[in-house]
């Protein structure tokens, strides 16, 4: 047993007396004052000289940080990273952000209040306070109030503290020694804790599972799940053909998909010229269309060497040949729409702008393979 003193405890029965005693003893600076009471005693925190808590400022700071972070996050998500117009509102709509800012403020503030109180200010985890091993603890948890003078240095005078408590109305005094702990957290204790957590999870899980079987629970948000509407490919007795999906009205033309006004590529060449200006973005679009649809047969540079195996057997046109290079833009456009030889029509896959962009890109490939002197300067 250790002979060092942790604290001297004085027991009181009267809340007024313990406050008076604390007020008397505090100026003598015998040691750190602490009080253990079964219920809150008004004025005691001032009497033992407890400084005002720093928690409030911490909570305020974290609340403001929470609000700021939420605003930053929402701004970044909805106006920078993935700008998506929702019901015609501005991308940065602070009105829509306020509820989330409010929630995050509360989240940061309450978590700070709870965690900082427990771990930073109350210095938890703290296994087994020495006072818990005192004889007085039974009284303290029932109807006694204890004022304790804790040793803060080697020079602590337990006898003086004892006398001071007795002089100020303590009914009895107990000297609490520093407990002789070698291992505050034992392996057995740790294993027991883990076992208890596992057992609690099992009980809760099995209990919930059983309860769900006994009491049928409606699926949440059923009104969103079951909407009175037809999904794609769903049948419907309402329409004469029994299908939920409706065909387009006769004569409907999609944007960019006007039916051709020509019967052969030669007619197209005579009728049409490329309406698109050659800009960076159109060249890039042509590059993408060419890469997605043309390069597989005509080759990445348009030389007619397919990416597919030769076993395919087709003879794709070589855009770099003099014959094909000499054809006007409209001819390419016409072939894209009507197809030629083994090549199918791409009218359904590409709209007007895609086709003209591809034509631009083919011209770029041709120029690249037949560079003139001035292109190199």
């Amino acid at each position: 047993m250790s002979s060092a003193t942790f604290a001297v405890l004085g027991l009181f029965s009267d809340a007024h007396k313990i406050v008076d005693a604390a007020n008397q003893i505090r100026p003598r600076k015998l040691g750190r004052l602490e009080a253990y009471t079964p219920y809150p005693v008004h004025g005691l925190h001032r009497a033992i000289g407890l400084a005002p808590s720093r928690l409030g400022r911490l909570v305020m700071l974290m609340g403001v940080i929470g609000a700021g972070l939420a605003l930053l996050f929402e701004w970044w998500v909805s106006a920078v990273d993935y700008p998506l117009v929702t019901s015609g509102k501005a991308l940065f709509s602070w009105q829509a952000f306020v509820p989330v800012m409010f929630e995050v403020t509360v989240l940061f503030a309450t978590f700070t209040a709870g965690l900082a109180m427990l771990f930073a200010l109350n210095k938890l985890p703290f296994f087994g306070h020495p006072v818990l091993h005192s004889k007085a603890i039974k009284g303290i948890t029932r109807d006694k109030l204890a004022l304790s003078i804790e040793a803060t240095s080697e020079a602590f005078d337990a006898e003086a503290a004892r006398q001071a408590l007795l002089d100020n109305g303590a009914e009895s005094v107990e000297i609490v020694p520093v407990p002789a702990w070698d291992r505050p957290l034992s392996l057995v204790g740790l294993l027991r804790t883990i076992a208890a957590i596992v057992a609690a999870c099992l009980v809760a899980g099995v209990g919930l599972f059983a309860a769900e079987k006994l009491i049928p629970i409606l699926p949440p948000m059923i009104h969103m799940h079951e909407q009175p509407k037809l999904n794609a490919f769903q049948g419907s007795a309402f329409f004469a053909d029994g299908r939920g999906m409706r065909p387009a009205v006769a004569g409907t033309v999609a944007r960019g998909h006007l039916p051709p006004a020509f019967a052969t590529p030669e007619e197209a060449a005579a009728l049409l010229s490329n309406p698109l200006p050659l800009t960076q973005s159109i060249a890039e679009r042509g590059h993408k269309v060419f890469g997605d649809h043309c390069a597989i047969c005509h080759g990445l540079v348009g030389d007619g060497v397919p990416l597919l195996s030769r076993a395919y057997g087709g003879k794709p046109g070589n855009f770099l040949s003099n014959e094909i290079r000499a054809r006007p833009d409209g001819h390419y456009f016409g072939v894209l729409m009507l197809g030629k030889n083994a090549m199918p029509s791409y009218a359904a896959d590409l709209d007007e702008n895609d086709r003209w962009a591809a034509v631009h890109y083919i011209r770029i490939l041709q120029r690249a393979q037949n560079a003139k002197d001035e292109d190199l300067r």
Binding site: H42, P52, G56, S87, G88, Q95, A96, V98, P99
Partner: protein, 386 residues
């Protein structure tokens, strides 16, 4: 009781002079400026006084209902400020003459407006008058019950009144919420009868309650400073400050909830009301509202020191009261046009109504003891610890 010192009679004379000048200006405003502007002003200032009175009556009843001890030593102040209710009811009854001038649903053209035709079951003059009369009677009855009863208890020391007051508080709350909702729907949102917001009644209630707390706070602090409430300590005022803090948040919550729902849904008939009030020249006024009604009082009162310091509390209360005025101004005045009007008619009517209100409160401040000495809970209120 306040003895007639030279200073207090000087203040009284100044207030009387202010009221008289205001009365002359008001008469001038009636004949010179437009009738709409006159009656809109009348409505604004009547509602300002009425909501202060009702907010304080509500505070009295709230204390009765929850059985609070801490506010008992200060209860005379809200009871006295509630004396604005009879004054404001008289003013509101006079304001009834302005109904055909400022409420569009009374115009002949309303018969051709399908939206207003659909609302005639509610918006017609006889029913409007009945609602006004019922509200006025209810307010007067409860005002007399709580304030006169409390004054009589000073002499009789009868604890039965305390029990009766507590039993009657819950029904009062119900009636009060309905009456404030009627007040909000009839006298404020009725100015633009096509518009509606289900929570507008709660919005006016939130403004009424928080401005009531602010007025009570100012009253308590001024009596404490004059040494008339020697036993009211920092702890009592601190708790009142906490209540003010909580309900500035409540007001902001309700105000923003109403705004955000309407902003989100973006329905033309609803959103036009906010468009008139948040764009153009009204925008700065709209920004004043959260500033005065929430941000300034919130940050003044959030710390524990602020709630113990009379100057800080006074500043917060003044900010809330100014915010309440701006709130009513912002709710009512946009019917006059896209420019916020504030000229000599407004100043004249402000001095008349504020003068009348101040004189009424000053008179009430001399009535009865400064603390409810007959209330059996008073000693517990004085002993109460934070």
């Amino acid at each position: 009781m306040s003895a007639t010192t030279p200073r207090s009679s000087l203040v009284r004379n100044l207030l009387v002079a202010l009221t008289l000048i205001g009365a002359a200006g008001t008469a001038g405003a009636y004949f010179i400026s437009s009738r709409e502007r006159f009656w809109v002003n009348w409505l604004l200032w009547t509602l300002f006084l009425l909501t202060l009175g009702l907010g304080n009556l509500f505070l009295v009843a709230l204390e009765r209902m929850v059985g609070a001890h801490w506010s008992v030593p200060m209860r005379r102040v809200p009871e006295r400020i509630a004396s604005l209710i009879p004054l404001a009811i008289v003013l509101l009854l006079i304001g009834f003459f302005g109904v055909p001038v400022i409420f569009p649903w009374t115009y002949p053209a309303a018969a051709h407006n399908p939206i207003l035709v659909a609302k005639t079951a509610w918006l017609n003059l006889p029913f409007f008058a009945i609602r006004l009369a019922v509200c006025a009677v209810v307010w007067m009855l409860f005002y007399r019950f709580y304030v006169r009863g409390s004054l009589r208890q000073d002499e009789s020391k009868d604890p039965a009144f305390t029990l009766r007051a507590r039993r009657l508080a819950p029904p009062f709350m119900v009636v009060f919420f309905f009456s404030v909702t009627v007040l909000a729907f009839d006298w404020i949102s009725g100015l633009e009868p096509e518009w509606y917001s289900d929570m507008f009644g709660v919005y006016l209630f939130a403004g009424t309650f928080i401005s009531g707390i602010a007025a009570m706070l100012l009253g308590v602090l001024s009596l404490v400073r004059r040494g008339r409430l020697p036993e009211v300590q920092t702890k009592h005022v601190y708790n009142l400050g906490s209540l003010a803090l909580a309900f500035t948040v409540f007001f902001a919550y309700i105000g923003f909830a109403q705004y955000m729902l309407i902003w989100y849904a973006n329905l033309p008939e609803e959103v036009i009301w906010f468009k008139h009030r948040t764009e153009g020249a009204w925008q700065p006024v709209a920004w004043l509202l959260p500033l005065l009604h929430f941000f300034i009082p919130f940050f003044l009162l959030i710390g524990s020191l602020g709630k113990k310091h009379p100057a800080t509390l006074r500043l917060a209360a003044l900010s809330i009261l100014l915010g309440h005025f701006v709130d009513l101004y912002w709710l009512i005045f946009p019917v006059l046009g896209p420019q916020p009007l504030f000229g000599w008619p407004e100043l004249a009517m402000a001095s008349l109504f504020l003068g009348l209100g101040s004189l009424q409160i000053r008179r009430a401040m001399g009535r009865g003891a400064d603390m409810p000495v007959g209330d059996p809970l008073l000693s517990r209120g004085l002993e109460w610890q934070l």
